[in-house]
């Protein structure tokens, strides 16, 4: 992405927040319904990709801001511009929204006509010099009152989508959303992008720091962060479901009932780097090395399959009768309502 001619819009920092949640619907959406859901603008294409997984990406919408930047050292920096927000739906099941913006090293000391900000979407200009380190830390810590609130923008988009009339608002199973805040420091062109830090914090919060060469658009950084957030959500949610007390000592149909949604809705979703800018795909490598995201997922999947296999062995009778029921279309169980 190039800046408009004569506009020194080189950014030194890109920041964002990704929210990941289960789509509130019994039925996973097919590509066409997903495109309809994410049609945030009637006149812009929704990106639909069907290989290797169905992945639908909305057009971007902008939110105007004029407020203080979040900073870790209390310095008060006013900034004006637009924050870009977009949403993605993976396999018609996992819904994500991202709000992100870039920051140049410095900006003018007064507010310019609004139209000048609008022609550089996703850029927020500080008044004066940008305290880079403090802002990066502030974004990761989260906005204080009156500070630029990426979470509010991302959540606003997410709740707008969750209200969509297309959704049946069903709850196939209980799950918690996660949020991932990220900052990317710009590095000279030619350098390789790298992952500096990925932290799993409490309350579904994840933070991530990257180094991003100048020629890679912020949207691509948002993309890799969405990909990592999605897979982290899968690990977190499935782990939580397996940890659930009721599963621990239980056996019999309750195990099948508890594991059923994982098998039906989640197991096939693991597909790292599927829709990531190739220039950033290697960022996964560090996390595969330690802690080993895919390794953990394989382990979880195996546990689930073993558990179900054990169940089938222990209760051949029930398994058979369940099979018989399965053949009768009147007995097919779709999710259960609460």
């Amino acid at each position: 992405m190039t800046a408009a001619p004569g506009q020194p819009a080189r950014s030194v920092l890109a920041c964002g927040e990704v929210r990941t949640c289960l789509l509130p619907s019994f039925q996973a959406l097919d590509g066409r319904a997903a495109a309809q859901l994410l049609r945030l603008r009637a006149d812009v294409h929704v990106r639909v990709s069907e290989r290797p997984t169905t992945y639908v990406l909305s057009p971007e919408i902008l939110t105007g801001v004029d407020c203080r930047l979040p900073t870790s050292n209390g310095s008060k920096v006013r900034a004006v511009g637009t924050v870009a927000a977009r949403a993605a739906l993976t396999e018609g099941r996992l819904l994500q929204s991202t709000a992100y913006f870039s920051l140049p090293a410095a900006g003018p000391d007064l507010r310019r006509p609004w139209g000048q900000y609008l022609v550089r979407p996703g850029l927020v200009e500080p008044f004066g010099k940008l305290p880079q380190q403090a802002t990066a830390e502030g974004v990761l810590r989260g906005a204080g009152r009156g500070e630029l609130d990426l979470g509010m923008i991302a959540e606003g988009l997410l709740s707008q989508l969750r209200r969509h009339a297309l959704l049946d608002r069903g709850k196939p199973f209980k799950s918690s959303p996660t949020k991932l805040r990220w900052v990317a420091r710009r590095t000279p062109e030619g350098e390789r992008a790298s992952l500096v830090n990925f932290t799993v914090a409490e309350g579904g919060l994840r933070t991530m720091e990257l180094r991003l060469p100048e020629h890679i658009p912020a949207a691509s950084a948002a993309g890799i962060c969405e990909d990592l957030a999605l897979h982290d959500w899968l690990l977190t949610s499935v782990q939580h479901m397996l940890d659930n007390s009721r599963l621990g000592a239980a056996d019999g149909p309750s195990v099948v009932k508890a594991l059923h949604p994982i098998v039906v809705h989640l197991l096939h979703l693991w597909m790292p780097r599927a829709h990531v800018d190739p220039a950033l795909g290697h960022l996964w490598d560090v996390l595969e090395e330690k802690p080993g995201f895919s390794r953990q997922w394989e382990n979880l999947s195996r546990r689930i399959r073993d558990r179900l296999a054990l169940q089938a062995v222990a209760m051949p009778q029930q398994a058979r009768s369940a099979q018989a029921e399965g053949r009768n279309p009147n007995h097919i169980q779709t999710g259960d309502k609460t």
Binding site: C21, R145, G170, S176, E202, S245, T338
Partner: protein
Amino acid sequence: MLIFAASDKGGTGRSVTSANLAYHRALAGDDVCYLDFDFGSPTAAAVFDVGDARQDTEDRGLHAYLIGEVSEPARIDVWSETEHQVLRFPPPGCGRLVLMPGDVSGGEFATGEENLRRCVDLLMTLYYEFDLVVVDLSAGRSYAVDMVLEATAQPEMSEVTARWLVFHRWTRQHVGAAASLVFGKRGIVAGGVDRGHDEEALRNSIRFVRAAVPDPESPLWSQVSPTQSAWMRKTDGDLKQLASNHGIGYSQVLGSVPLEPVLQWREQLITDEDVLDSQIANEATWQALNQLAGRLTDDKYWEPA
């Protein structure tokens, strides 16, 4: 499932009892979220003994969220934040217990479309995330009551099961007032119908909880004179008749909580330790709370009368 806790007046033990119900369900393995919608006099932080965490979330509570000042209300994980010695070590197998505090400074506020929007969003988010969501509403026909009536009438919430508990004390005034809060001209049912609720469905989703009920048969009263004892029995009988006349008789009652000094004086969660080890609370209270907690989701108790 959503549970709304309402009461006609203050002092009915609504907050402390509903907090105890949330606690019991979490012990039983449910993920539970407790929302303090008692704007103006939030007490939940004290009940759950999370005073310090409460200080940290000052001004980021439900009130600030509903008026749009923060993107999401603060959450307090009770197990990890509480200063209560017993609660800090929940038994294995229990579910999450999360408190969303109100704001100390936040009073009632004017209703608006945006507030309502945010209220619906919040309730829906929590519905997807938790097994049980308990909402403690300020006493009377308050703004909080109006807002959740309006929210649950929205089409997007039509699939969500919402149930109401109306707490009242076991006295003539309280029985009358509770009946009027629900069935009166400006009551919950009428207010709900105005907002688009189906009257039958709404009526069937409301049950009463009799709080601080003295049991004439209790050993507490074993020392009273025969005259006093006879009078208590008679009064209890009269109250039952009165409740029945007001349409809040036996079939509309989900349960009773006995008169319990620990609830009356300390407003705290009653743990099994309070009952078994230190024995400051009565076994009967624990039993009553446990039973009530179970009935919240037991459809048998929510069938049309």
